[in-house]
């Protein structure tokens, strides 16, 4: 049974359809990548899976449980599925360690001392132990994004949604963030990520999905999507990526 099942999902903002019937499965321990032009609906899809947006049609299931529509246990859903954002969204009024410990404390009911200890252990693992007591704005973008990943991991999710987590970074900081994602992939973390880093997508993904104007036009193993894409639109998109020197 797939861990995340997306069945005919539609989403409109007012009268504007943004997702037009998306079908997609993510198996446990799989890494699935969403590629597609800006505005094709990648972020929206990820936000729907995390219950940050209501969907207008279809169904999303996580681990067999319905995770969309009325009566969804969003709290449980979010314990199972963590999310990392393009702009980090660290809480600027809390130290790094407090950022990481917040959810275990307020959601998991873990006592502060324990939560902060665990947070320090996690930060240590991504090489940020010495930054634990800094405020987020004292860190570089790459460091902030690493903290954001650690923060999402602190509640022990079984899957991660990563929304263009390197797009807001200076080029020289991208690698340190991707290294963590790679490590998570090797560790068997189930992940669904939107990215413009095609080389990285090719390397870590089990499956790549090309989204075009709210439609999932093509999906397949990375060798196929990057090697011999079937759809003209996929080819055109990848051509533009190559011309921009990003592949």
């Amino acid at each position: 049974m797939p861990f995340i099942e997306i069945d005919g999902v539609h989403k409109s903002y007012g009268d504007t359809p943004v997702l037009k019937g998306i079908d997609l499965n993510v198996e446990q321990h799989q890494v699935v990548t969403l590629i597609g032009a800006s505005g094709s609906g990648k972020s929206t899809l990820l936000r729907c899976i995390n219950g940050l947006e209501d969907i207008s049609g279809g169904q999303i299931r996580v681990d067999g449980e319905v995770a969309s529509g009325r009566g969804t246990d969003v709290d449980r859903l979010r314990r199972d599925v963590g999310m990392v954002f393009q702009h980090f969204n660290l809480f600027p009024h809390m130290s790094v360690v407090r950022n990481v410990a917040l959810a275990p404390m307020r959601v998991g009911g873990v006592p502060r001392a324990v939560a902060e200890e665990q947070a320090r252990v996690l930060l240590e693992r991504v090489g940020l132990a010495d930054k634990a007591d800094r405020m987020p704005d004292q860190l570089s973008g790459g460091q902030q994004q690493r903290v954001a990943i650690v923060r999402a991991l602190a509640t022990g999710p079984r899957a991660l949604l990563l929304d263009e987590i390197t797009s807001a970074l200076d080029p020289e900081l991208v690698a340190e963030v991707l290294a963590i994602v790679r490590e998570l992939a090797e560790g068997g973390m189930t992940m669904l990520l939107a990215t413009h880093e095609m080389g990285f997508a090719r390397e870590v993904s089990n499956k790549v999905c090309f989204l075009h104007q709210g439609v999932l036009l093509e999906e397949g193993p990375p060798e196929q999507i990057f090697g011999e894409p079937q759809q003209e639109r996929t080819r055109a998109f990848l051509r533009r990526i190559v011309e921009a020197g990003r592949l």
Partner: protein
């Protein structure tokens, strides 16, 4: 022919004759004249004050000398401006253009500095002259030393009532304003009635002048014989009325603050599994509070001043107390005392707001 080649074939660029910088000499001359005029005016004012206050000759002379000396310090920049203007013309004639422009720029800055201080001196001299004009009538009406001496202690203690009203109202307003703001932002279909209610309240209480709310509550509640409420003292009527009025303003301040927090902050908190109320409490409100403090303090300053409005319902606050003195002595100096007390408490707060705003801007840039 295309536009492009049209542009390309346009005639050879002719070097434009450089325009000389504006002549600063008239401005510099004005500055010198202004300094001399201000010194002369100081002397004239001093003489008229001496006329009005016989026996204060030494003090007045000393004051006049200080003002005149202060104004005279501006003769230096004014004269320097004249010199710089001459140098600029010379430099321009010798084709040292950068030097010429720099000299003109210096001349103008010097001249404007001198003119600015002269204007300030003029305003001060004007105020002094006004005060002592008409055989000191103005000074005696507003600044009569005897009346001030008689009234000051009682007014100061009545001012305690103003402060009490302000402080208690501020605490209540914080609570009430936040409740209104949250009601106004109640989410979804179920929140609609609450939103409507809060919006009408806020619109209504911002529309009606505070003095009318105070009047209605101060006279209306006792007349209406509302249980408990009508037995309150006028001071508490005032607190109630100001809380109702300012709660509406502060609700809008809170709402603006909460809405100014990027939606990504809530999204991140919610995606971590925090409930709506935890998100508000631990993530949104702490950040909003920081931004809200300066506008909140501004509202509180204006609330403090509005405590003087309670005199319409007969509360003996500083203003009412001073009016009693004023009518007993046919003199407004006691009211001046009240004004001074308000200035005394407001200015530190105004400066604090400035500093907080500056800090907030630095923080914004640093991020």
């Amino acid at each position: 022919m295309t536009v492009g080649s049209d542009l390309l074939t346009a005639g050879p660029a002719r070097p434009k004759a450089a325009a000389p910088p504006r002549n600063a000499l008239p401005l510099a001359g004005t500055a010198v004249a202004a300094v001399l005029a201000a010194v002369a005016l100081t002397a004239v004012t001093a003489l008229s004050v001496m006329d009005a206050v016989p026996g204060a000759g030494v003090a007045v002379t000393a004051g006049a000398v200080i003002v005149a000396a202060a104004v005279l310090t501006q003769l230096r920049p004014a004269l320097r401006a004249v010199r710089s203007s001459r140098k600029a013309a010379e430099a321009w004639a010798q084709d040292r253009r950068a030097d010429a422009r720099r000299a003109v720029s210096e001349a103008r800055e010097d001249a404007w500095t001198a003119l600015g201080w002269c204007l300030t001196a003029l305003v001060v001299l004007g105020a002094v002259w006004f005060l002592f004009a008409n055989d000191r009538a103005v000074q005696r009406t507003f600044f009569d030393r005897d009346v001030i001496g008689i009234s000051i202690s009682e007014i100061a203690s009545a001012f305690g009532t103003n402060l009490f009203i302000a402080v208690v109202a501020q605490v209540l307003i914080l609570v009430w304003g936040l409740a209104l703001a949250l009601a106004r932002m109640a989410p979804g279909r179920a929140g609609r009635p609450l939103r409507l209610l809060a919006t009408s309240y806020i619109d209504g209480f911002r529309a009606v002048p505070a003095i009318i709310i105070i009047y209605l509550i101060g006279f209306g509640l006792p007349l209406a014989k509302v249980p408990f409420l009508s037995s309150l003292s006028p001071v508490w009527f005032a607190i109630l009325a100001l809380t109702l009025t300012y709660g509406a303003y502060v609700a809008e301040v809170f709402r603006a603050g909460i809405e100014s927090i990027a939606p990504g902050q809530s999204a991140a908190a919610r995606s971590l599994g925090l409930s709506q109320s935890s998100t508000l409490r631990h993530v949104v409100l702490p950040q909003a509070t920081r931004r809200v403090v300066p506008p909140l303090l501004n509202d509180f300053i204006s609330l403090q001043k509005d405590t003087a409005l309670v005199n319409v319902i007969g509360t003996i606050d500083a203003f009412n107390q001073s009016k009693i003195f004023a009518s007993n002595h046919f003199n407004l100096s006691s009211v001046t005392v009240v004004a001074a007390l308000f200035i005394l408490i407001t200015i530190p707060q105004a400066r604090l707001v400035d500093r907080l705003v500056a800090r907030e801007q630095r923080r914004g840039k640093g991020a």
